[in-house]
Symmetry: C2
């Protein structure tokens, strides 16, 4: 299972320490530049207020299975954590779509490093909003 880069992130996060812990809540604007050969995949994307972005966390360790998440004090398995380190370092971020200009998406709340490879984009739907959390 081999992934293709569909686009690349441009923003002000040049190193991991630049990214606020709740990047999703930050006002920072990022641009996602979709490579021209995939731009047809953006048709009608501007109808969505929020998008799910999957990107490759290229600095993350792939050989760890336990980690202490930022808000926790004890070890958690990586599948019980949103930490980037995991066997397949795919990070998932829900962003607000501000504008589309051709193959460029301006989004708010993306917690990816500048230069990250974008793997997939999906519309966020009502079905994704689970409110009866236990």
């Amino acid at each position: 299972m081999q992934l293709q880069e569909i686009g690349v992130v441009h923003n002000a996060y040049k190193s991991l320490t630049d990214i606020p812990r709740q990047g999703r809540m930050s006002a920072e604007i990022s641009e996602i530049e979709i490579h021209p050969e995939f731009a047809d995949g953006l048709l009608k994307i501007e109808q969505n207020a929020h998008l799910i972005v999957l990107y490759w966390a290229h600095l993350a360790k792939r050989d760890i299975l336990k980690t202490i998440p930022p808000a926790a004090k004890e070890l958690h398995g990586v599948f019980a954590s949103r930490s980037p380190g995991r066997p397949n370092p795919l990070s998932l971020c829900i962003v607000e779509l501000l504008e589309r200009r051709d193959n460029i998406l301006r989004v708010k709340g993306l917690d990816a490093l500048d230069g990250s490879s974008v793997i997939d984009i999906k519309p966020y739907t009502q079905m994704d909003a689970i409110t009866e959390m236990s």
Copy 2:
């Protein structure tokens, strides 16, 4: 960017036509069997009521960029659709975690075919529930 299979899906969906359109809302139970070498990654996962599952939609076409989503009448870009066909056929499903038995997760609402490769599991958090949809 090469993916590893961390586990496999077991359920009653033997062909694509078996999967209800809103698989997420179905009462069907699936089991996710995490391969023993990744089972340490499950530590404390039972603390989560809902999980985000990323799986590989192995039957999906990777060379399409536009599709007509089930609920639509017009062509949409694949990045404006949740259809499995896309350059990187990673499907995302939010499931309810019913039980963990060692390296087996019993979940409700998974819309994957029996035998699908599981790529990643993440806890669903309050941050993922966006209620102010436009």
